[in-house]
Symmetry: C2
Subunit: 129 residues, 2 copies
Amino acid sequence: MTVKRNTWQKDAVRHALSESAGFVSAQQLHQVLHAHGSTIGLATVYRALADLLLAGDADSITSTDGQLLYRACGTSHHHHLVCRECGLTVEIDADQVEAWASGIGGANGFTDVSHTIELFGLCRGCRGL
Amino acid sequence: MTVKRNTWQKDAVRHALSESAGFVSAQQLHQVLHAHGSTIGLATVYRALADLLLAGDADSITSTDGQLLYRACGTSHHHHLVCRECGLTVEIDADQVEAWASGIGGANGFTDVSHTIELFGLCRGCRGL
DNA sequence: GACTTATTGACATTCATTATCAATAAGACT
DNA sequence: AGTCTTATTGATAATGAATGTCAATAAGTC
Ligand SMILES: [Zn+2]
Ligand SMILES: [Zn+2]
Ligand SMILES: [Zn+2]
Ligand SMILES: [Zn+2]
């Protein structure tokens, strides 16, 4: 049983992620950290983000060009409404949809049904209102 | 105005995709085509699939290891319930969720709201029933 | 402080996807 | 059928996100 160790690198990634608005890529986080004087390695950023995902402290979605984007996130299950222009993100919980999702699974003979739901739109600011 | 041309390669990809059950990767399609004697190039498979996506004749999702998976698909908007073991796929339409999705957008000041919804579960067969 | 080993980071490697570009062939027109 | 234009093809190179490697470092324990 491997014992986890706390390092300033993990804290730096967690902190940088929580400072970011909207979703960020691992590479972007690495650049931001370096811009602030950190010497953290790229591979370490990837590893720290993978840990955060497993721990449920971060969410991830796949961007249109195929790379993973991360976002700090509480432990409760929820989904996101993301502006496709500026990345502004709103957390939404969707009780109706949660119920629907598990119901549909059962109706088709499926068990252990999980789901991914992402909403994309244009926010007020990006419409120039 | 570039005029589209019809080629046996595009037909081959469309046909191979419609024969496939569940989602397939571009590389898998290329292998299947070659196994059936075709000499189509890999880049051409990618191009044909991209065209099918634009035309709305195919769906795509991102697999857990990051690659794009394609599936033949009618033109009507719908979603998928996919067995995470065998890939068995059921098309579902989700009127409640469609309404919910566009409603949530408006409630938060977003317009032009689109969404992605994927359900994953374990089908009857894969539970050994 | 000494010790064990989880973790780091520079670098190499993998691999899906895209770009290049000369060769091919679809479609239009005669 | 033949000619011409150019969209398309395919072998190959290039891109780039993500992961593997491994000696050096440092967290946690005693
Ligand atoms: Zn916006
Ligand atoms: Zn949910
Ligand atoms: Zn199954
Ligand atoms: Zn829908």
